[in-house]
């Protein structure tokens, strides 16, 4: 049933219908409405037999999820930004121990300077943590991805992160169909852990592994991540069959046939970009869009299949790799070895600066007009005057010091 709901509320209700046995969380903007709503649902008894641990830190939250999952319980948490970094030590631990924890990340910038608004630098900083990373384009998809995430996590015995843009999605109220309890139950069987801390059959989990076997363990982890690509596709197909909605999956190409230029983006930007593509197509501009739904594992083949013959690709980066360039853009480039495709690595929408339809439209037209470089990172929404002023001031100070 369609309802007009805030994204956080919709996600909380969905998570509750996935019946986690343990929720452990620590509040941080813009994740707060999710954990508040879950606390309400637990208190009201709508989420039966769930233990809600209000822990002392995000590190504690992820650690409690690790303990809960190893004890054979479905575990969930949510975080963002500095909170995600505060649990950073525990993230590869959860994946290394193969624990199917599901976490929502309400994507937010990393400080300093402190900034509570949306970009993707938090999640992308944990690119190599061994978590499956999914990105939601809308609140409907955020809801659907959570149902898929628990199924994925438990099928793969891997932790899954569902990314949704902070404020832009978490605090947006729009129409959402929260899957019914019976349908979720039919889609998501009760959690059957591969192993748990069973006193009748004791196991040692988390042993020290030396040089003699460490590489092999890591190889198997990497291999399982790559195999997860198939599972992501499978689960999305099963979800479509069960709920009649296209959500999730690895990539989402939109009007890319014969495109002169294709935008590549993740998260809530996709909706606005879709509008821009339609408008420009109506004006005769051959533009398309590739949405990345699954960022880790990275869908090399699917990205190559879409972008391979495209003359120009514009990657919308909502995080930067300081001192190196882009994060998402590098993955796109690595998917296009030896081809003729020109990749424009563009930075847009850092720290809550809105990614507008007007801005995306201008970007596409600038690229087609040859006004956007393809060798260096291009900051498309930069106040150039402000940075030039500051650079000049620094240069003057250096000059004076000489």
């Amino acid at each position: 049933m369609l309802r007009q709901l805030e994204g956080s509320r919709a996600v909380a209700e969905t998570v509750a219908r996935c019946r986690p046995a343990v929720v452990a969380a620590y509040p941080i903007s813009p994740q707060t409405h999710i954990v508040e709503a879950l606390a309400d649902l637990v208190t009201a008894g709508e989420l039966a037999s769930c233990e809600y641990l209000m822990v002392e830190s995000e590190f504690g939250a992820m650690s409690a999820c690790i303990g809960a999952s190893a004890a054979g319980a479905r575990a969930y948490t949510a975080s963002a930004s500095q909170g995600l970094l505060f649990m950073a030590e525990a993230l590869p631990n959860a994946s290394g121990l193969s624990l199917p924890i599901v976490m929502t990340v309400a994507n937010r910038a990393l400080g300093a300077p402190i900034n509570i608004w949306n970009d993707h630098s938090d999640a992308l900083s944990q690119r190599d943590a061994g978590w499956v990373q999914l990105f939601a384009a809308s609140n409907q998809e955020a809801v659907d991805l959570h149902v898929q995430a628990f199924a994925l996590a438990e099928r793969l015995s891997l932790p899954v992160m569902v990314n949704m843009d902070g404020f832009v999605l978490t605090h947006a109220m729009e129409e959402v169909d929260v899957p019914e309890q019976d349908d979720v139950d039919a889609f998501l069987p009760p959690f059957q852990p591969r192993q748990w801390l069973d006193p009748d059959d004791p196991v040692t989990i988390g042993a020290m592994v030396g040089p003699g076997a460490f590489t092999e363990v890591k190889y198997l982890m990497a291999d399982r991540q790559i195999r997860a690509l198939d599972t992501v596709t499978e689960v999305a197909a099963e979800f479509r069959a069960a709920f009649g909605r296209d959500s999730g999956g690895l990539v989402r190409p939109y009007r890319t046939d014969d495109a002169e230029v294709v935008l590549v983006a993740m998260g809530s930007t996709l909706g606005s970009a879709t509008d821009v593509v339609d408008d420009l197509r109506a004006e005769g501009v051959a533009v398309g869009l590739l949405g990345i739904g699954c960022y880790r594992p990275w869908p090399y083949d699917e990205v190559r299949a879409v972008l391979g013959g495209v003359p120009r690709v514009v990657v919308v980066n909502r995080a930067i790799a300081v001192g190196a360039g882009s994060v998402l853009g590098r993955d796109v480039r690595l998917s296009l070895p030896g081809g003729t495709t020109v990749v424009h690595d563009v930075v847009l929408g850092l720290g809550g600066r809105p990614v507008t339809r007007a801005g995306l439209r201008e970007l596409v037209l600038d690229v087609l007009a040859g006004q956007v470089p393809d060798e260096t990172l291009h900051f498309a929404d930069l106040d150039r005057e402000a940075v030039h002023r500051e650079l000049a001031r620094e240069a003057a100070l250096e000059e004076a010091a000489r």
Binding site: E56, G60, S63, I66, A71, A73, L197, P202
Partner: protein, 348 residues
């Protein structure tokens, strides 16, 4: 007139003289074995001994329905060199600073899934307890999560090569507090008593113990396991490697720590001390310091009697604070219900 009989100063020696129900778990050949022989601990390791006693007692108290969570540290490293494991109980190691939170998660999971007959014991060294693990531990205490947390305190980061921790005593020489120049070793700070911090949370049960009195340690574990909520036991475990004591002296050094007053052994419930183990024959702190090379610099050449005096002052403060010396009328007679009666012998 009566005198207390003790052969080596521990009730363990008198096991054969005790009624069977008063005997230590460890005295039985039938005892379980949470951690088997063959692990890689150093000879004379106090932590290995304490962990076996604690987990065997906890396992027996829970009829084997028990899960163990372990912080990173010596105990984790020497017990689980992949593909071997010394653990005969379900055992989970995650990280250094999160054992308390992991245990809280395990406990919550068992409750949520209707398996709360299974008890949870978390264990960590002093680093994983008083330093890097303190945030999570305080949270576990404050929420009164159903976990027994045991700290094996060897007063430093021994696993990484004997660096100073927040539990390292003043004047101790460690790899990061060498007594060079005018330094006397580890600086005299204010100290950090995790048992007192635990008591400030008013959790149901806090106790301290040492490997010098295994029967006492066992009894405290049994007491803790008879209760629910957050419980904390802090066990002093000498480390021959880090303390520079002879590996055969582990028990004696631990006993001297108690007898000097430097390590008060007591129990507390809901924030109030309910029993303290009185010192039967007080020794000057010097007797405790001398067998340990980490304090050598205090006795070399002219020595540092001023520093030894400052340490004696700390011991005296403990003795006064916990009433460790005099007969203690304030101590409830049933303060340690699991303790055997002191062995007494009529002297002619």
């Amino acid at each position: 007139m009566t005198t207390t009989l003790y052969q080596i100063g521990t009730f363990a020696a008198g096991n054969r003289l005790l009624a069977p129900e008063q005997r230590a778990v460890q005295s039985s050949t039938e005892r379980g074995n949470a951690i088997t022989s063959g692990h890689r601990a150093c000879r004379g390791c106090g932590e290995a001994l304490a962990a076996r006693v604690v987990l065997d007692a906890a396992s027996r108290a829970s009829s084997g329905r028990m899960v163990t969570v372990n912080a990173t540290g010596c105990l984790e490293v020497f017990s689980t060199p992949y593909p071997e494991s010394a653990w005969q109980v379900p055992w989970l190691h995650s990280l250094f600073g999160n054992a308390a939170a992991v245990a809280s998660g395990v406990s919550a999971a068992l409750r949520a899934t209707g398996r709360d007959d299974i008890r949870v014991v978390a264990q960590a060294g002093d680093g994983g307890t008083v330093d890097i693990g303190m945030g999570c531990l305080s949270g576990m205490f404050e929420r009164n999560d159903d976990v027994l947390f045991v700290c094996y305190d060897n007063q430093g980061y021994m696993n990484t090569g004997v660096q100073r921790s927040g539990a390292t005593p003043p004047a101790a020489s460690t790899a990061t507090t060498r007594p060079v120049g005018t330094s006397v070793g580890n600086a005299f700070g204010t100290g950090k008593s995790l048992p007192l911090i635990a008591m400030a949370h008013e959790i149901p049960y806090v106790a301290t113990a040492t490997v010098a009195d295994l029967h006492d340690l066992e009894a405290k574990v049994v007491t803790a396991m008879s209760m629910h909520g957050a419980r904390y036991i802090h066990v002093l475990v000498p480390c021959p490697l880090g303390w520079g004591s002879a590996s055969a002296e582990t028990i004696r050094v631990a006993r001297l720590a108690v007898q000097s007053g430097l390590f008060p052994v007591f129990e507390a419930r809901e924030g109030a001390v309910t029993a303290a183990m009185t010192i039967r024959a007080q020794v000057p702190v010097e007797d405790y310091l001398r067998p340990q090379t980490r304090f050598d610099h205090l006795f070399r050449g002219d020595g540092r009697p001023d520093v030894v005096a400052a340490l004696q002052e700390r011991a005296d403060r403990n003795i006064a604070r916990f009433g460790l010396l005099a007969e203690q009328p304030d101590n409830p007679p049933d303060g340690r219900p699991q303790d055997p009666a002191p062995l007494e012998k009529e002297t002619p």
